[in-house]
C-alpha cells in the first residue's frame, strides 16, 4: 500500500512537470496557433542559467528567479525575432521552424555547458515524510505543490487582470483585438515569455532528478506534447490533468506490468494518446469546434 501511494505521489510530481510544460505548449498554441517543439529546449537553457547562478555561489531560489526572468525575456525575444515570421503561415513550416529552434537552443546550451549530464541541487531536502504508515518523498510533494501554485497564479493572472483579459482576447480573435487597440504583437511576445517562464520552473524542479544536460527535457517534451494533445490543445486545465494522468499511469505501469518495466514506460502515454485520439480527436477537454488537431 505504501509502495502504491509512493508511486502515485511520484507520478503526480513528474506529471506536474509534464503538465507545466504541456500548459506552456497550450498557452503558445492558443495565442499563436503554433506547436512549440522548442519549449523543452528553452526550459533547459533557462535551467542552465539557474545552474550558472548556483555555481557562482548564490542560493538556488535566486537561481530559480533569475532563470524565470531570463526565460520570460528569451521567450519574448524568440517570438519577436523568429516565430513571428511563421505565425499564420503554413503549419508544416511552423513545425519545422520550432524544430530548428529546438536544435539551435539546445546547441547553444551544448556549446556552453557541453553534453555531459551534471548534478543539480534540489529546492527540497531528500527526505521522506511518513503519514500513517505511508511514506512519500518531500521532493515529490514539493514539486507538485510549487507547480500547482504557479498554475493557480497564472489562472488568477488570466481571470482577474487587465493583462490577462487582453491576452485571452488576443488568443481568441487577434484581428478584433487589434481593432480594439490592443497591442497584439506585444501581447504575443508576453504570452511566449510567460510560457517560457513556466517551462523554466518545470526545468529547475525536474533537473535534480534528471541531471542537467542539453537533452535533459527531450523525453519530457514528448510527454508534455502527449499531455497537451490528450487534454485538448486549447484546454489549459486539460493539459495539467493529462500531465498528471500520464505521470501516474506510466509510473504504475512501469512498476506493476512486467512487460513494460522502466525502459518502456514511454510507450504508455503514446498508447493512451492513440486510443483517445481515435475515440475523441479533440482530446479529453478540447472543444469540438477546434479542428486544428
Amino acid at each position: 500500500m505504501s509502495y502504491f501511494v509512493q508511486l502515485v505521489v511520484d507520478g503526480l510530481a513528474t506529471g506536474s512537470v509534464y503538465g507545466a510544460l504541456a500548459l506552456a505548449i497550450v498557452l503558445v498554441n492558443r495565442s499563436t496557433g503554433m506547436i512549440n517543439f522548442s519549449q523543452g529546449a528553452l526550459a533547459v537553457l533557462s535551467t542552465f542559467v539557474a545552474y550558472a547562478v548556483v555555481q557562482a555561489g548564490a542560493p538556488l531560489l535566486l537561481g530559480l528567479l533569475v532563470a524565470v526572468a531570463f526565460a520570460v525575456v528569451l521567450g519574448a525575444f524568440v517570438e519577436r525575432v523568429v516565430v513571428r515570421r511563421f505565425e499564420g503561415g503554413d503549419a508544416n513550416t511552423a513545425v519545422v521552424a520550432t524544430i530548428g529552434l529546438l536544435v539551435l537552443v539546445s546547441g547553444i546550451a551544448g556549446a556552453i555547458w557541453s553534453y555531459d549530464p551534471r548534478p543539480f541541487p534540489s529546492l527540497f531536502p531528500n527526505a521522506t515524510l511518513g503519514l500513517g504508515g505511508v511514506f512519500v518523498s518531500v521532493r515529490s510533494i514539493g514539486t507538485t505543490v510549487v507547480i500547482v501554485a504557479v498554475m493557480v497564479l497564472l489562472q488568477l493572472l488570466f481571470r482577474f487582470t487587465k493583462l490577462g483579459l487582453a491576452m485571452r482576447a488576443v488568443a481568441d480573435n487577434p484581428s478584433s483585438a487589434a481593432l480594439s487597440g490592443l497591442p497584439v504583437s506585444r501581447l504575443l511576445m508576453i504570452g511566449w515569455g510567460i510560457a517560457a517562464g513556466l517551462g523554466a520552473v518545470a526545468g529547475v524542479l525536474v533537473a535534480p532528478q534528471l541531471f542537467i544536460s542539453p537533452t535533459m527535457l527531450d523525453f519530457t517534451l514528448v510527454y508534455a506534447l502527449a499531455a497537451a494533445i490528450l487534454g485538448g490543445l486549447d484546454s489549459p486545465l486539460g493539459a495539467v490533468v493529462a500531465g498528471w494522468f500520464i505521470g501516474v499511469v506510466e509510473n504504475l505501469a512501469g512498476a506493476y506490468v512486467d512487460v513494460i518495466g522502466n525502459d518502456l514506460k514511454i510507450a504508455v502515454p503514446f498508447a493512451a494518446m492513440i486510443v483517445i485520439l481515435a475515440l475523441r480527436p479533440q482530446g479529453l477537454f478540447g472543444r469540438r469546434t477546434v479542428v486544428r488537431v
Binding site: K162, L165, A166, R168, A169, D172, N173, S175, S176, A177, A178, L179, S180, G181, L182, P183, V184
Partner: protein
Amino acid sequence: MSLLELQDVTASYGQGRVLHGISLSLAEHGATGILGANGAGKTTTLRAISGTVRTTGRILFDGRDISGLGPDRTARLGIAHVPEGRGTMAQLTVRDNLLVGAYQRRDRRQIATDVDYCLDLFPQLQARTGSPAAALSGGEQQMLAVARAFMAKPRLMLLDEASLGLAPSTARTVYDAIRRLRSETGLSMLVVEQNAVLAFSLVDDVTVLETGRVTVEGTASELMGMDSVRRAYLGG
C-alpha cells in the same frame, strides 16, 4: 476642418488593387453612408482607414496623416472599426468583450458607467453579460460588436454591414439603437451598408462607390432624389 479626410487613397490585396484613388471627407459629428455593389470597395475603404490593408495616398484623421498605421494604433487614436462579420471574441463573456473594448482607457469609473449605458442601449445583452459571445444570437453579437467599439470612447466609428445576416426586424432594432447612440453622443460614423433604407435612416451624406472609385456624392436627401440611386439601391 473635417474629422476624416481621404485624399486619392488606393488600396490593394497582394497584386490586386481594389481602390483606385478615393477621396472623401467627413465632418465632426457627421455620418456618411457608403453605398455600392459587391466588390465596389466599401469594406476596403473602411479597412484602409483602420489600417488593415495596404494603401497609398493620404488619410487625415483630425488633421494628422494616419496612413500606414496599424489597426491598434488607429484604434488608440480614436477610430473604432466594427468589422464585417462582427468580430466578437467568441470565448470571452459579453462583459469581457466590453472591457476589451475599453482596454486603452484608464478611467475605471467612467468605464463602468459606459458598460451600463451599452446595456441600456442594447437591453437584449443585459441578461447575457456572463455568457460567452459565441452563445449569443447573430443580432445580439452585432449589438455586442457595436457596444464593444463604443466602449473605446472613439471619435469615429466605422460600421461595416451591421445588418448582414440579420432578420429585417432585428436589423431595424440594431439600427434604431445605433441612431440613438449617434444622437446621444454625437459620435461620427462612416457606415457601409447593403440595405440602403437602413443606411439612409442613419446618415446625413452618402458616397456611392463603383469598382473602387467614387461616382456620386451628396446629402442623403439629394441622393434620394436621384433616379439612378433610387433604382439601384432603394428598389424603385
